[in-house]
């Protein structure tokens, strides 16, 4: 098996303790950092699809993402200054009043694996904070808002409307267990993804990448 194939298998199976060494070996064997990164992105795509189809569960996805981040740590110094693979910055957070973050964190991981530079605002994020963060950071192309409670769905609406009022051209994606495509349409979001696996494809589609 090629070194890159090793890395892919280790990411897909979430072997975070072994990935860093495998990435280093691939680099030593002459593989390009960008190719290794692309392979890991593809692996996370496979993991995301398996999660969407119910073949694997949250823990398997978490350890895969953890493994990928260990691999990325090795690549970072090698790729420093090379912004070629970035899709732009995405600001993400769970809306005001809502403390659920497991789903949001999985989406952050998937979007990061897909090539977005992620700024994670955490949980209980007031609508205006999304706007501030979009202004404070460079090259923000997308804002992603998560909401898990039926009582915080109005906060999701407020977030989308506040963002659109302040920065009309900004793209916004929403999601979370009680959110549906209809609700996303109703509150004026540009997109909705039902799960973390499909969020990366949707996010890319929205920004036209």
């Amino acid at each position: 098996m090629s070194k890159i194939e090793d890395v892919k298998v280790l990411v897909e199976t979430g072997k975070s303790k072994k990935v860093a060494a495998a990435v280093q070996e691939a680099l030593d064997a002459g593989d390009k950092a960008q190719d290794i990164l692309d392979a890991m992105i593809a692996s996370m795509g496979v993991v995301g699809d398996k999660f969407s189809s119910g073949e694997i569960f949250v823990p398997e996805m978490l350890i895969a993402a953890k493994a990928m981040s260990k691999g990325v740590e090795v690549l970072k110094p090698v790729m420093a200054g090379d912004g070629s693979s970035s899709l732009g910055t995405c600001i993400m957070g769970t809306v005001a009043g809502d403390l659920h973050d497991i789903g949001k964190n999985l989406v952050v991981m998937m979007l990061e694996s897909a090539g977005f530079d992620m700024v994670d605002l955490g949980v209980d994020v007031p609508a205006e904070r999304f706007v501030e963060a979009a202004k404070e950071n460079n090259n923000v192309v997308l804002i992603a808002c998560s909401g898990l409670l039926t009582t915080t769905m109005p906060a999701l609406k407020e977030a989308v409307q506040t963002i659109k009022a302040a920065i009309p051209e900004m793209k916004v994606i929403v999601g979370g267990a009680p959110v549906t495509q209809e609700y996303a349409d109703e509150i004026g979001a540009d997109g909705y993804a039902p799960d973390a696996g499909s969020s990366a494809a949707k996010a890319k589609e929205i920004i036209g990448a």
Binding site: I56, L99, L149, M153
Partner: protein, 328 residues
């Protein structure tokens, strides 16, 4: 005519067809739960007996929510770090008197159910944070197993105190191992790592002559046969993303279903209309009622802390139950 208690037990424990569909939100004296300060911190927030910090938020309807820095980072170090509540420091009789004052004590009319929150899986997540806990189950299964066993030992001591002081008919262990779309972990992980501990706790509850229920929100239909196998009398807080009707058909003679109401859908919204509430209660009564072995349960998540807002959410549901509970 049966008392509400007899009627409830007929459905929930004997798995037969009751005279009318019992209502978990009115036929039960519900003790325990948030009142256990050693499990959920003091009222208004603070440390529990494990050293986990809890706080109450408005959007949580005043319910305690765990937060703060995780107590345990590395599962392999649990023996040196995790401490368990000292159950002898708790004022059991005082707590019983206070709760009986609030919820009543008409034991001949209504069943007494004791809610034992924070089951083995949930306690692991409270100690480590959800994500670390989920990773630990895959990465360090032996250490997880040992910690689950220790948590179960502690829970068994808790059952002894509850049996002695509260003398409930039922103890419900709350372990939310599922999400909206399926189990948090694979069914295989549940079976190898959590189920043996759920069984040991069920057995301990039964050894005190008390009936074990398990509460699991979310989509957990895949493991209902496992709940049957470990001797669970009823699965509570069943939500309709599960095939409740299918479960009642297949397993209704072995396990009761408590729930049915679409708490996460339109009827569970704060702004749900009385018509929407009415229609969902009717759906439950018509769809699940005829199978017997079914107890209705439904609530709405309301914003605003305190029991008043919770009651405000429940009242129209209970009114509708009164209207439809005799549907055959």
């Amino acid at each position: 005519m049966l008392t509400p208690k007899e009627n409830f037990l007929l459905a929930a424990v004997e798995h037969k067809k009751p005279e009318w569909v019992p209502n978990e939100m009115s036929d039960v004296i519900m003790y325990g739960g948030a009142f256990e300060s050693f499990e959920n911190g003091p009222a208004g927030g603070g440390l529990d007996g494990f050293g986990v910090t809890w706080h109450a938020t408005e959007s949580a309807g005043g319910q305690p929510v765990p937060g703060g820095k995780p107590v345990l980072d590395d599962i392999e170090k649990w023996e040196n770090i995790v401490k368990f509540p000292n159950l002898d420091e708790y004022d059991w009789e005082g707590s019983l008197a206070m709760q009986a004052g609030i919820f009543g004590a008409d034991r001949d009319q209504r069943v007494v159910e004791y809610g034992m929150w924070n089951g083995q899986f949930l306690r692991l997540t409270h100690l480590m944070g959800f994500e670390n806990a989920l990773c630990a189950m895959l990465e360090e299964p032996e250490a997880c197993d040992a910690l689950f066993a220790a948590i179960t030992d502690y829970k068994i001591k808790l059952v002894e105190r509850v049996a002695k002081h509260f003398k409930p008919d039922i103890i419900t262990s709350y372990d939310d191992i599922a999400t909206e779309r399926g189990l948090f972990m694979s069914p295989g992980t549940y079976r190898s790592l959590i189920k043996p501990h759920h069984k040991r706790l069920n057995d301990a509850i039964k050894a005190h002559g008390i009936i074990p229920f398990i509460h699991t929100c979310g989509k957990c239909e895949e493991i209902i046969p496992d709940y049957v196998e470990i001797g669970t009398a009823a699965w509570t807080s069943a939500q309709p993303m599960n095939d409740i009707e299918g479960i009642l058909k297949k397993y209704g003679s072995q396990i009761a279903v408590v729930g049915g109401y679409d708490t996460n859908g339109r009827p569970g919204l704060e702004e749900a209309t009385n018509e929407e509430i009415d229609a969902d209660v009717k759906r439950c009564m018509e769809t699940y009622g005829p199978y017997g072995s079914y107890v209705f349960m439904g609530f709405r998540l309301m914003s605003g802390a305190g029991p008043e807002s919770f009651m405000e959410g429940i009242l129209p549901i209970n009114d509708a139950v009164e209207k439809y509970k005799h549907i055959k």
